[in-house]
């Protein structure tokens, strides 16, 4: 067990260092970005003194390093600051968006795993036969179809024609679990399908690789059934690449879903960042990116821990 905690400690330290570097990079890049947030807020007709007054109010006239230290210091104490444009605490904004993005990403991941693992298993078991070839060409299609196009197709079928589900928008969790989940269903399907295509291919190839290992032949030789070998020996050993892909996919689903969020006009994290960048709401962009960096580090940590569970040999200093 002490070895296990060493492994975690090492991962944690790397995570913290990544956060620090990310904070410096994010802050610098955004500050270099041309564009004056105050001018952007007041528009074409504003007089110079009104813009100057607003710059002063927003604290944009202080030196860069002071602003970084003040921002990073507040961040450490859990204070994300106040949005320039919305004039509300950034923490509230992020919390509202995570309440959409996190359930959406989880739904999409569950859906894609539920589809991909059985499909991958089936294809690997039928390797080289018609069923395998059929499945692989369907997944090829799943990879090739752009997800926003697929999303629009879903909207036209289920919202415009059948009127079973809303075309978009999010009523909020206060409207009840039912309506909220209903609003997330189409976007989750649109997100899940391409992911499922990738995941099932990875599952299949990882399984095929393990199935050719010596210990599989040994297991079969000692009389175990094909199914038992597949589930107990091969699947567990094929899990490492599958877990890696799952971790990457969840990170992507948390923040990389802006296109789907746009098609369904969902108030998720992706749209918050996009909107904040175009409006030069720097403090929101900086804070959201830091939250995402932290989330991704956390996801990677969980994946690393899961590796150790699947493969106890990893548990130790290497």
């Amino acid at each position: 067990m002490p070895l296990m905690s060493f492994y975690i400690l090492k991962r944690l330290a790397i995570g913290l260092a990544t956060l620090l570097v990310a904070s410096i990079v994010v802050f610098t890049v955004l500050e270099i970005l041309p564009g004056d947030p105050a001018r952007l807020m007041l528009g074409l007709g504003a007089s110079e003194d009104a813009v100057a007054a607003l710059r002063d109010q927003m604290g944009l006239n202080q030196p860069l390093i002071m602003r970084y230290l003040s921002w990073a210091g507040h961040l450490l104490m859990g204070d994300f600051g106040r949005s320039y444009t919305y004039a509300v605490p950034v923490k509230e904004l992020i919390a509202e968006r995570i309440a959409v993005s996190f359930p959406l990403a989880s739904m999409a991941l569950l859906l894609s795993t539920a589809i991909a693992i059985p499909v991958g298993l089936f294809a690997a078991a039928r390797r080289g036969r018609t069923a395998d070839l059929g499945i692989m060409s369907v997944t090829q299609l799943g990879l090739a179809i752009p997800n926003f196009w697929f999303a629009l197709l879903l909207v036209y079928v289920f919202a415009v024609s059948l009127r079973l589900l809303p075309a978009g928008g999010f009523p909020g969790w206060s409207a009840g679990i039912g309506p909220a989940l209903k609003a997330l269903l189409l976007p989750a399907i649109a997100l899940a399908l391409p992911q499922a295509a990738i995941l099932s291919r990875v599952t299949r190839s990882a399984l095929i690789e393990t199935l050719s290992e010596d210990y599989i032949r040994t297991a079969r030789a000692k009389g175990l059934s094909r199914a038992a070998v597949l589930f107990h020996h091969a699947l567990r050993n094929a899990m490492i690449p599958v877990l890696t892909i799952l971790g990457l996919q969840f990170s992507f689903l948390l923040a990389g879903t802006i296109i789907i969020e746009n098609v369904f006009y969902l108030p998720g994290l992706g749209r918050l960042i996009f909107q904040a960048i175009t409006q030069r709401d720097l403090i929101v962009v900086e804070s959201v990116i830091m939250v995402l960096v932290a989330a991704i580090i956390l996801i990677n940590l969980i994946v690393d821990l899961a590796y150790a569970l699947v493969d106890p040999r990893l548990d130790g200093p290497r």
């Binding site: 001018r39 807020m41 504003a46 009104a50 004039a87 904004l93 629009l152 075309a167 746009n262 409006q279």
Partner: protein, 500 residues
Amino acid sequence: MIFRTLGTSARKYALFALTALLLSAMNAFAARSDLTLAMVLEPPHLDPTAGAAAAIDEIVYANIFEGLTRIGPDGAVKPALAASWEVSADEKTYVFHLQQGVRFHDGAAFDADDVKFSLDRARAPESTNAQKGLFTAIDEVEVMDPSTVRVSLKYPSGDFLYNMGWGDAVIVGRTSAAGNKEKPIGTGPFKFQNWAKGSQIVLAGNPDYWGEKPALDRATFRFIPDPAAATAALLAGDVQAFPSFPAPEAVPQFQADPRFEVVIGTTEGETILAENNARPPFDNPKVREAIAHAIDRKAVIDGAMFGFGTPIGSFFPPHHPAYVDLTGERKYDPELARKLLTEAGYPKGFRTTLKLPPPTYARRGGEIVAAQLRAVGIEADIIPVEWAQWLDQVFKGKDYDLTIVAHTEPNDLNIFARDDYYFNYRNPAFKALIAQIEATSDDAKRKALYQRAQGILSDDAPVAFLLQFPKLGIWDAKLQGLWKNYPIQANDLTAVKWTD
């Protein structure tokens, strides 16, 4: 005979079905008093006196906040919180008689002190009002009694009553003004209810409204930036109105659908190809004239706007009573353009740049304009920029050759009289004319002056005038009372109702 019988029974059946349909529709909608509208952009906050975003006014104007005066659907000035007013003979003193019994949404009584507070706040040195220019004529605001205010001007201003009708000049409460960005408190017929950021804003009817109560008691504004999503949301019935629909390419689909009403109106958005008059070769009037003649406005409208929009020959909206159509003065004539370029000393044309901000009209329009310029020998390299960059480089830094942008503020002819504006256009005669317009209040005289000003701009061609931006309104055919045109940035819901 058999055909005839069939015809009658079919007709009878149709009539029956129609009646049944009508009855069920009446049952469903007779008491309908809620509306979900969609807008492309979400406002950054909801205080119209502290930001330029049109989206703020498109939610709060006339619904939540009211000014001394208001602008009606036809662009005319009407009384609002000021029930009436008197103007002194020298046109420098306005006495406003305020509405009685008005309360703010938080219960605070509205009186003359709120008017003084609002106007003084907007013109104070530390004010962040985006339209401070509206208040520059004001010398002093005095409270005569709780329902009377006297405003003294530094000089006569023909636009004063109009200016007081802008969203930036609304009256805010002394005690609630500071919180208006998050929770706007006004005197209007709708109260702010809640704001799910990134998603929607809900307004509820104000039962204590001082004026005529609107038919709606609940209005939801949804934000849908994606054109394909906007189309789907209307088709699915998730939203019942899109007063400024973002996808001209999808309009014919709605025009063919009897469930929807499509209303094409105009806005205050003069869309222009701006030229940097301080930079060679655009400092040469012949070059600017050549560009004006090189552009085929119809092709720009067809290509960039799918045929929606009105060609303009000067910087004035076609719906204004003082508008003159000057598009014939600078006709599309590539031959003449090449001749003018030769006279200007550029027989082989020249190379320049065209900076384009993100909106579709600019990006699509820019490619067409560049092609038209190429046809007369001007090679314009397209440089796409973001809004923030555009504001920084083009608008503030005046670092550009050519750019395309829509100027959406009403009554903004005077930008050509500003010395440090990004056009770098200077004409003392035009400046004097604008000053004269501002000091004139007689309608007939103003009209004549406005027309002269339009003529000067057409002659000088400081920029190339392309089109007046259209307002593409699409809503449920059973909905009435939304504005056709956009004389001011607003989605006034006070007259909106459902019919059967």
